[in-house]
Symmetry: C2
């Protein structure tokens, strides 16, 4: 993107076009996830169209739950167009596995919470079954390992 490009986007324009907030874009630049763009004579950031693509890629990957570190890997891989995409698949599979695990844990959590609620007969706090369960894991039916 040459400086002379009249179609350059300011950071606000990039934010609107990509759905990533201005402050977040600056943050991504700060941690080296994206390249620093050229600046206007007054010091404002100016972006070309490819920056929109990149920001959308990042945003969608974030929405799919990938960490910024993983996204960094994906971006690096995408630079090597001729490489087999087996590594990319591997990363996505690993992530899908993580997600499945988290779902399992949350499900047993949900079961336990619902059981607690069902079994409370709304008495005084002093005899509250919910409170007892909170105090004592032995009263739980499931193992609900930390979410």
């Amino acid at each position: 993107m040459p400086l002379s490009d009249k179609n350059a986007l300011t950071i606000g324009g990039l934010a609107k076009a990509s759905g990533v907030k201005v402050t977040t874009i600056r943050y991504y630049e700060g941690i080296g996830l994206i390249e620093p763009p050229v600046r206007s004579p007054g010091g404002q950031r100016l972006y070309g169209g490819e920056a929109v693509e990149r920001m959308r890629f990042i945003r969608h990957s974030r929405d799919l739950g990938f960490s910024l570190d993983t996204i960094r890997e994906l971006i690096a891989l995408s630079g090597d167009k001729d490489r087999s995409c087996a590594e990319v698949d591997e990363i996505v599979k690993r992530h899908a596995g993580d997600v499945r695990l988290r779902i399992e844990r949350l499900k047993s959590l949900e079961k336990e919470l619902n059981r607690m609620i069902r079994e409370c007969s709304a008495n005084r706090v002093a005899e509250c079954h919910v409170m007892e369960v909170l105090a004592n894991h032995a009263l739980c039916e499931t193992e609900h390992l930390k979410a």
Copy 2:
């Protein structure tokens, strides 16, 4: 717990008895989640048996996914033994709702990730379907709002 109590626990003993790490106990004291205990002449923390109960309560609540702020509320409510436990129920219900929502989101995420994996034919990165999907939410089937 009088200072003279020979059965007092040091922070390490409390950690073992409750399953909460030493540093975490100090952290909880720092943020005012638990009361500062009495100290030995040399300045070391000394805890009585009720501290073990409290730490277990906190740990189990954390395992069930409650935030420290919510646990703070629960502890405050537990101090008022005669109060109806409707508020406690309310808190647990709200949390159960949050958990359900998270499960829903993770499920649609999982679906999308699995679809991405299935549809990749392991070519070069340049034509990788996974990469395309990451770049473009329009290629998604589900709405998979942020997890």
